[in-house]
């Protein structure tokens, strides 16, 4: 009979099972030389880690990991494979010895160091008892929204998030500069339709794409109250557009969402975010200090019942500021992901045509 720790419960049991699954999948990724198999396994890896995140009480992160890991990164990796090739070279085992030894050594050091960390779920550990608790206690008082992750993300650490948004924007620009802003030549019309192959898929995609887009808006505006927010909603919106491109072709999608519009939306999102910060400064607060988003004269005019609670009327600026910057994040993330997809998928068309010319 093994001795279980006092905190052992269903939570820890599921945690361990999922981590073992992650280890098995990671081992399989290390072993396989077939890159396509590696990509599929990486998708499973993301799904497992997203479930693990839910078990670890991080639904917001799980949301992001589910959409980004299993959705967008799989598609981006596929786009890259399409432009390179599907098999990795076999490496001589003698050349694997040194990296393996190094990894075992570093891993041993990490495990040794980790033994000094507090046990899993320790409520009294410094991080949880002081910093985390301070945020948990202050959020209802300062910000007044139930989702504390959104509160910390958008308000307390709003400056940090602005930086992250700018990084995403810069990455999108980088990909677009390297792979082109969508296809550089005009896309040839699709081949004539002889038989319709995927009728079921096309009909249900027509039905699903608006639903996915609608769900993205739900995630966006529900982000204050439950799991969700601008990052997640942006990626879901991008997934809807990518599904359209997958089923109806890049040409149709580029007619609906031109690359120019995507670029404009990405820039406008960052500008909106920074603009909210500047507006707060103009009204006498610090950068991104949403309590100063409205001049006091306007603030007084807003009736308390708008928020359902007259005492919390001073949170109006916080609510509105968070909503605006989340909108900026949504625009930037969605447009950047779409730009990246256009870059990879449009390159395919381009490369195929170049090869045909030769």
């Amino acid at each position: 009979m093994i001795a279980l720790p006092p905190s052992f419960d269903a939570n820890l049991a599921i945690d361990i099972v999922l981590l073992v699954m992650l280890l098995v999948v990671a081992g399989a990724i290390v072993r396989t030389r077939n890159l396509l198999a590696a990509i599929i396994l990486f998708g499973i890896y993301s799904l497992v880690s997203a479930v693990w995140l839910v078990v670890m009480d991080a639904p917001d992160v799980a949301f992001t990991e589910a959409v980004v890991g299993a959705g967008i990164s799989t598609i981006v990796l596929l786009g890259a494979i399409l432009l390179t090739r599907g098999e990795a070279e076999k490496t001589d085992w003698r050349r694997l010895a040194a990296p393996a030894l190094l990894c075992v050594a570093v891993g041993g050091l990490l495990v040794y160091a980790a033994m000094g960390l507090p046990a899993l779920g320790d409520a009294a550990s410094p991080a949880n008892a002081h910093v985390g608790r301070a945020y948990l206690e202050a959020t209802p008082r300062d910000i007044g929204i139930p989702n504390m992750v959104t509160a910390v993300l958008a308000s307390y650490r709003g400056f940090d998030t602005l930086g992250e948004t700018a990084v995403i924007f810069a990455a999108g620009i980088g990909v677009a500069l390297m792979l082109g802003f969508g296809p550089r030549a005009s896309l040839a019309p699709p081949p004539a339709v002889i038989g319709d192959h995927h009728v079921v898929l096309r009909v249900s995609a027509k039905f699903l794409i608006p639903l996915i887009a609608l769900f993205a808006f739900y995630v966006q505006f529900h982000g204050d109250l439950g799991a969700g927010g601008g990052f997640q909603a942006g990626v879901i919106m991008a997934a809807a557009i990518i599904l359209h491109a997958l089923v109806f072709g890049l040409r149709e999608t580029m007619a609906a969402v031109p690359p120019r519009v995507a670029r404009g939306a990405a820039s406008f999102g960052v500008l909106l975010y920074a603009g909210v910060g500047v507006a707060c400064m103009v009204n006498g607060g610090g950068f991104l200090d949403y309590d100063f988003l409205f001049p006091p004269a306007i603030e007084k005019q807003i009736p308390g019942w708008l928020l359902g609670d007259p005492d919390h009327a001073h949170h109006w600026g916080q609510h509105f500021g968070i909503m605006l910057i989340e909108l900026g994040v949504l625009l930037t993330v969605a447009a950047t992901m779409v730009t990246i997809f256009y870059g990879f998928a449009g390159r395919t068309v381009d490369a195929a045509r170049q090869e045909a010319k030769r």
Binding site: V24, I40, I44, A70, A192, G226, I242, R251
Partner: protein
């Protein structure tokens, strides 16, 4: 108690899907495994929400169902047509030309 047993069963089914995804043998088997794994994940998330007393997180299950579909279609299209850009209806014409 019943829900805990259900969670365990779903975890077992997911483990079997991982085995199929690793074994292959063809890429279509792998895509099938990912798709089925995703559906089981949706169920697991729904059940786990009730086990841990916060069923409000079903939004994540919804998003899984949707993203799983997008990924499956992307993988299918990649393996079948070697392209992410062309429309699906054009494929037959191409086959007729090639063959």
């Amino acid at each position: 108690m019943l829900l805990a047993a259900g969670t365990a069963g779903l975890l077992i089914a997911m483990a079997m899907m991982i085995v199929r995804a690793i074994m292959g043998p063809s890429h279509y088997d792998r895509i099938l495994a990912v798709n089925s794994f995703g559906t089981k994940t949706v169920l697991l998330l729904s059940v786990v929400g009730f086990v841990f007393g916060r069923p409000a997180f079903l939004d994540i299950a919804i998003v899984y169902a949707l993203i799983n579909f997008v990924t499956t279609i992307a993988l299918m299209k990649f393996f079948r047509y070697r392209s992410l850009a062309q429309p699906l209806c054009g494929s037959v014409a191409e086959e007729a030309r090639d063959g």
